[in-house]
């Protein structure tokens, strides 16, 4: 009783169109990054492909080519040795460091707490869980001033470590929630069997339960990575010389024009790392996002 060919084709077509619609902004964004300004802002028509593609935007943001570089090349120009404020190589490195480290820290803290919350009975457990989760409810804007002052006095302002900590703070509730659902999916008898086999709690965690939820850890890690990679407001205020990607991109909006070419080039580049991560663990991600609510 398989659906007719026409029906199947219709479905295929619909699926492609729907996904296509969702891909369009990215396509457009990517296209923009190859356009000269006159093709981005054309009062007469929307320019699709009728332009001279240029790689200049990528070379500036990703390779650090700058006016100053030309000056050096030609030997006699103005601005020798100056850095381009659009060179984003350091930004990408900093962003990766922050995202990777905060993800590691978040997953470490989240996984250990989630294990205890899933496996151990103690007074105030639900309250503690609620407290962790409520942290996710706090609007970042509420804590900017205090965090800036606090970080200043702790010497964490404008440091990678500070950013790592604050991204850990905002991601840890989600990590706990996700990981708890994964641990809840592992029958508690597994722990008991291991306990009878002579394992300590830590051994049970390390050797038995954790290996059984690696998929969940991966899904959690990807989400934390994405959230850190895309976080804007706190990164903006806690740094001045270190710039994460979204912050850097926001500085391309200037008093005399937005650098749409650079914005789109860096924006497009910024998508790549997270997407690779997401592809690697897509299955677990799908599973993980249900937060165990499928289990009856």
């Amino acid at each position: 009783m398989s659906p007719s060919l026409a029906k199947r084709l219709l479905r295929d077509l619909t699926a492609i169109i729907v996904v296509g619609i969702f891909m369009f902004p990215l396509f457009w964004w990517g296209l923009t990054s190859f356009k000269p300004t006159s093709a981005i802002f054309n009062k007469d028509e929307v320019v699709f492909f009728d332009f001279e593609p240029t790689l200049v935007n990528y070379e500036v943001v990703l390779l650090g080519k700058s006016r100053a570089e030309l000056a050096i090349e030609s030997g006699n120009t103005f601005g020798v040795g100056g850095a381009s404020s659009y060179d984003s190589r350091q930004t990408i490195i900093d962003s990766i460091i922050v995202a990777v480290c905060s993800t590691a820290l978040t997953v470490f803290a989240g996984v250990t707490a989630a294990y205890a919350l899933s496996r151990m009975k103690f007074r105030g457990r639900q309250g503690y869980l609620n407290w962790i989760l409520s942290q996710r409810f706090v609007p970042p804007i509420a804590i900017i001033v205090p965090v800036v002052f606090m970080f200043h006095f702790l010497g964490l302002r404008d440091t990678l470590l500070g950013l790592i900590f604050i991204h850990t703070l905002i991601n840890v509730p989600l990590a706990v929630l996700l990981m708890k659902s994964f641990f809840d999916d592992v029958p508690v008898e597994i722990d008991e069997a291991a306990m009878l086999d002579g394992a300590t709690r830590f051994q049970i965690f390390r050797k038995v339960v954790l290996p059984m939820v690696t998929g969940g850890v991966a899904a959690t890690a990807v989400l934390c990575f994405i959230f850190s990679w895309t976080e804007f407001l706190l990164s903006l205020f806690l740094t001045s010389s270190i710039r994460t990607l979204p912050v850097k991109i926001s500085t391309f909006v200037t008093s005399t024009g937005s650098e749409w070419g650079f914005i789109s080039a860096l924006g497009t580049s910024a998508i790549v790392p997270s997407f690779i991560f997401i592809l690697l663990v897509q299955k677990q991600l799908v599973r993980g996002l249900t937060l165990g609510s499928l289990k009856e």
Partner: protein
């Protein structure tokens, strides 16, 4: 050394010349640049695809090249004492700052002082600077201060002239304080008799018009507000089929740009923002006339004007969408850029005259100076909480020295702060249709010297000018409230502003 440096340079130069004279296509040019191994650097950007109006550095000599010997010596010897110090400057991405950021390493070369320029959008500068002074954190050694915040930050900055005079050891020779344009020092940098910083940027309202369009329709260059309206309507009626509008506005709701437009409209109709008794004056007869004039202009401007800031307004001009604009002079070099659709078609003119007469300073409040040329200048202020004050001070003197300021102007084609820069031969040589042109600077200088206006100096102004006033204006202009009644809107603004002023016990 395969491809010799010399060969490379000549190759680039030849290619560039060929491209400039349209002998080769862009693509071929890019290919050759790629061959030369420089990729697409500033040069090709300048030639090929710019969004920044000022971004046409051209090929000029190193910034320090023409620095007087005594200043070089000063930087090396005095500045050298602070070798290794790291100073930090936060600024909006204004043209001079962007150029400064590019050439700052030349300062480091001389002194060994590291300079970090943190470039963030305007309001973030405000928030970050406010946080810094609030906690006296000393995160920044130098502040970029918009003229509307000068009053707010006056207590947090060191008076540079006083410092110059009181500490001769750290005073740069030949700095020449008198060279700074008098109106800028008085209008921008001084608050309550104290010099809060050094003028560093002076975008100012001038009239810009499409010569070709005005000629085509036989319309004279407007000289006052009424003529402007008439001309804008006439062009709109004639050209709307071609997608050309009479004017373009920077009327984004809740944005400082709208406040700037509005302020100029009010001043130009004989009004002011405040009365001498510190009450809001925008709802008096002249104020409402000004706002109504502005509302009328919206009907002949691209509808997107209500979503546009200076950025959007510039795009309208550069893409050939509008014919007449009274706005920031710093757009001008970008209009002559190579990727501009209207290269050479725009002309600068003096700002519009008021046919009813201007309100005098004594009739306005909070040190407001109603006049024809709205300015959005900014100053560089030395933080009183800086931990590297001496090093920062030396950098500030370098950045504001005659030669460096002139170099900045040369790089971007924007208005200089110093009389000597205006008179500089190198600057004058660029007064023709070309990237980074300076051909508007005569008009700009006239405007600064004769009709420069200033917004009120008051600690609340940063908030009022970027939040309360433009938000209510936005409600009116986009039809969210007030049913199109300028009076109703201005009465509401008056209520809000008056209560805020009262609350602050100013």
């Amino acid at each position: 050394m395969g491809f010799k440096q010399y060969d490379k340079q000549t190759f680039i130069a030849d290619s560039a010349a060929a491209f400039a004279s349209r002998r080769i296509t862009k693509r071929e040019f890019l290919r050759r640049m790629g061959l030369a191994g420089i990729g697409f650097s500033a040069f090709s950007m300048a030639m090929l695809g710019n969004t920044r109006p000022f971004r046409n550095p051209g090929l000029v000599s190193r910034a320090n090249a023409a620095l007087p010997d005594d200043q070089v010596k000063f930087l090396k010897e005095v500045g050298g004492q602070f070798k290794g110090a790291r100073i930090r400057y936060t600024s909006e991405a204004t043209p001079p700052t962007v150029v400064l950021n590019q050439i700052k390493n030349e300062f480091t070369d001389l002194t060994g002082i590291e300079v970090e320029v943190e470039i963030v959008p305007l309001e973030q500068v405000l928030a970050k600077a406010t946080q810094d002074v609030q906690g006296q954190l000393g995160t920044y050694d130098l502040y970029y201060l918009d003229q509307s915040w000068v009053a707010t930050f006056a207590p947090d900055c060191v008076d540079p002239v006083e410092l110059y005079n009181s500490n001769p050891d750290l005073a740069m020779p030949g700095f020449d304080w008198d060279d700074f344009s008098e109106p800028l020092v008085e209008g921008l940098a001084r608050y309550n008799g104290k010099l809060v910083g050094v003028p560093f940027d002076i975008p100012i309202f001038v009239l810009m018009y499409r010569k070709d369009l005005l000629e085509k329709h036989g319309i004279a260059v407007p000289t006052n507000y009424e003529e402007f309206t008439k001309a804008a309507h006439a062009i709109y009626d004639a050209e709307k089929a071609n997608g050309v509008f009479g004017t373009g506005l920077q009327a984004k709701s809740g944005h400082y740009s709208l406040e700037c437009d509005w302020t100029q409209a009010v001043w130009g109709h004989g009004g002011s923002i405040f009365r001498p008794d510190k009450t809001f004056a925008g709802n008096d007869e002249q104020g409402i006339k000004g706002l109504e004039w502005y509302q009328d202009l919206l009907t002949v401007a691209p509808p997107n004007s209500t979503a546009a800031t200076w950025d959007g307004q510039f795009q309208m001009m550069q893409s050939g969408q509008v014919a007449l604009v009274q706005s920031w002079d710093e757009f001008f070099p970008g209009l002559d850029a190579d990727d501009s659709k209207v290269k050479g078609l725009w002309e600068p003119a003096k700002p519009l005259q008021s046919s009813v007469g201007l309100r005098s300073v004594s009739e306005a409040g909070f040190g407001e100076i109603p006049n024809l040329g709205h300015q959005g200048g900014s100053i560089m202020g030395l933080s009183a909480y800086s931990k590297n004050q001496e090093a920062a001070w030396i950098f500030m003197q370098w950045a504001c020295s005659k030669e460096i300021m002139t170099q900045c102007t040369l790089a971007g084609g924007f208005a200089p702060m110093r009389e000597s820069s205006f008179a500089d031969e190198r600057v004058k040589a660029k007064a023709k249709v070309m990237p980074g042109t300076t051909r508007h600077l005569d008009i700009v200088k006239w405007t600064i010297d004769n009709v420069m206006a200033s917004e009120p100096d008051m600690p609340l102004w940063a908030g009022l000018s970027t939040n309360e006033i433009p938000t209510e204006l936005g409600k009116l202009l986009t039809g969210q409230a007030y049913g199109g009644s300028a009076k109703a809107c201005m009465d509401a603004v008056a209520k809000i502003v008056d209560s805020k002023v009262k609350e602050a016990e100013l």
